[in-house]
């Protein structure tokens, strides 16, 4: 079985990251923005795993576990915020949530 070279993984990872980041920047629905963030996290995860495999060490996989844990926590907090948003403002449009401005 021929192994997939490292560069392919990196290319896929950066492509996923770019897609996620674009979603973060341009989409207005908070839920979709949130999905973009998740996409970026998993792109980073993929890069970790690719390097871990290429270098035959476990530290990259360990880092990936931390990222998964952080993503889970983030999902919990982020979804809770969104529920609160809908209840209070009845909207998920990030453009309308700008109370912190001067």
């Amino acid at each position: 079985m021929g192994s997939v070279p490292l560069s392919h993984y990196l290319a896929l990872g950066s492509a996923l990251f770019a897609v996620g980041f674009a979603a973060l920047l341009v989409r207005r629905n908070a839920l979709v923005v949130f999905m973009g963030v998740e996409l970026m996290l998993n792109a980073a995860n993929m890069t970790f795993l690719a390097f871990s495999r290429a270098h035959q060490t476990m530290s990259g996989q360990a880092a990936a576990f931390f990222v998964i844990a952080v993503a889970a926590a983030e999902a919990a907090v982020g979804l809770a915020i969104m529920i609160a948003l809908v209840r209070n403002r009845n909207t998920l449009n990030v453009d309308e949530v700008d109370t912190l401005k001067y």
Binding site: L25, V97, T99, Y102
Partner: protein, 680 residues
Amino acid sequence: MDWLSGMNPAEGLQGALRWIVLFPLFGAAVNGLLGKRLGRANVHLVACGAVFASFVISAIALYTVSFGDASRITDLWWRWFWIGGVPVEMSLTIDRLSAVMMCVVTGVGFLIHIFSTEYMSHDEGYWRYFAYLNLFVAAMSLLVLGSNLLVMFVGWEGVGLASYLLIGFWYTDEEKAFAGRKAFVVNRVGDFGFLLGIFTLVGLFGTIDFEQLQALAASITPDAVLDAGIFSGWTLGAVITMACLFLFLGATGKSAQLPLYVWLPDAMAGPTPVSALIHAATMVTAGVYMVARLSFLYAWSPTAMATVAVVGALTAIFAALMAYAQNDIKKVLAYSTVSQLGFMFIGVGVGAWWAAIYHLVTHAFFKACLFLGSGSVMHAMRDETDIRLFGGLRKEMWHTWATFGISTIAITGVLPLSGFFSKDAILHGAHANPNIFFPWVPTFTYLIGLVAALSTSFYMWRMFHLTFHGERRGMLEHRAHEGGNAMVGPLWILAGLAVGSAVWGLPLSGGARFENFLEPVFRAADENIARMTALGAEKLGVPVPHEPAHDFAAMLPGYLIALVVALIGFGIAWYLYLGPGKQIPAKIAQGAPAVYRAFANKFYVDEFYRAVVVVPLHTTARFLWRVVDSFTIDKLFVNGSAVLTGWMAQLFRYFQDGNVQRYAVVMAVSAVVILWVFLG
């Protein structure tokens, strides 16, 4: 009953010494914490009982060191701390000097406690008063018994605290509270000197224990130049002089000498028995006691001795002059106390140690009696203190008149009462003790002392005549009444002691009894003086002077002079205030108003201090408060930095538009730029 083991007579006095301090301390604690609920009878039972217990132990101690095997007993209570390799022990020592002091403190203190039970009976702060009074006795005992300088200093500060509390006892009166503060602050100046003196001795000898100091001081070469320690390059004699002068500064504060005497007259704001106990009989003599305790050290410093004697003499005459024109019965007694303390300092300054201590003891008796007598008069006259309003009180208050008269005779130095012998012992020491270093000192102190004795006689008789003789001049409708047994009893006992203590000072062929009694204590000092004199005589090229004789024949001329002086003072006072010259004082006051005002205003010393010390300090403090603290620190630094932060925040808040995605863009672009710069 483990705690009583210290009292076991089988263990001797050693373990019992601490109880002299502890009894009044417990009394103070009980009255101070519970006194309000105990009721008056229990309060004074506790207070008087505690002091009486101390007196009993002190009396046993006096008996033991007088007739027992050991003339010096030390009770090592606990090891307090080490500092720089110097052990400081909480230990108490009784020898003949401290035993005499203790008996005076607790004995006179007990009588004054008894007197107070009636004098203060109408005061609502009864329990507080007795708590403070017991606290004072405890602190004074610690001062007297301490076997090193630091324990003495603890007591020294303790009596200062008790004095402050009692002067400002009626603290709702702003003026009296101020008098308390004044006493405390002036004493702090002296205490500062006292501390510096202790530090100097630690730096020089590495010990503050009296016994070790005495041993070290026995073999000193004053001209030796020190080559180690913090005083390297100094001569030994110079360091000792410095230490003695610093300690004497402490004494001038506590014992109200020039230039720090100003607090004592104001201290009369306290209750009169307090003035009797603290500001006449005991606390103010602490300075004399301290110099006597360190006599072996002072002996090596002719400069310090001369300073002590001259300051004492100047204080004696200065205070006596100020007493001339005082119309407040307690103020006259206060200045008289300052003056008599000056006499004691003449005594220790010229090396007549025993005479100074003897005068201290006799003065404690007759001055306490005088103060209690004035308290008795005030008690009878609705707390009036102006002697111009009194007169003719002899008819109404026979006991007070008699005891006051006896004590006045004693203080003015008339044969055969104790004051005559004690004052003359000092004056004899002043002119007879040779001083080859400062040959003018004996003549100077003796002459000043004589004038001060004349003045004493004058103002005391003036006050006595104005108060008790003639006709009542004011408060005509008021009928004075003699106090009860609790007031009259102590008066008579003290008057009796003022008479009886004369037997210790009779000029017997082998020296006075008191002199022989204290000889073991002051032997070291006398030996050091002899050594110093021998060294000085060699250096100055003069013959070593002879020891002065002090038997009856040698004392007789001095006795006659002093007696004549005292009688002249009496005569002038009688002539001016009872006799045909009644109009003269008013004429003097009118004819030379500037002179009269100078006397009446105490030569403007308080005003001088106010202008030179108080006002500049006040101004500086105000500057520090207003400009440095309120403006610079509070406004400029604290509030200023907050205001600055606010401004900056105002500026930067325009960068926040609340749009999360715009933040994300900025972040991404910044990250790209940073990566570009650092990686590219």
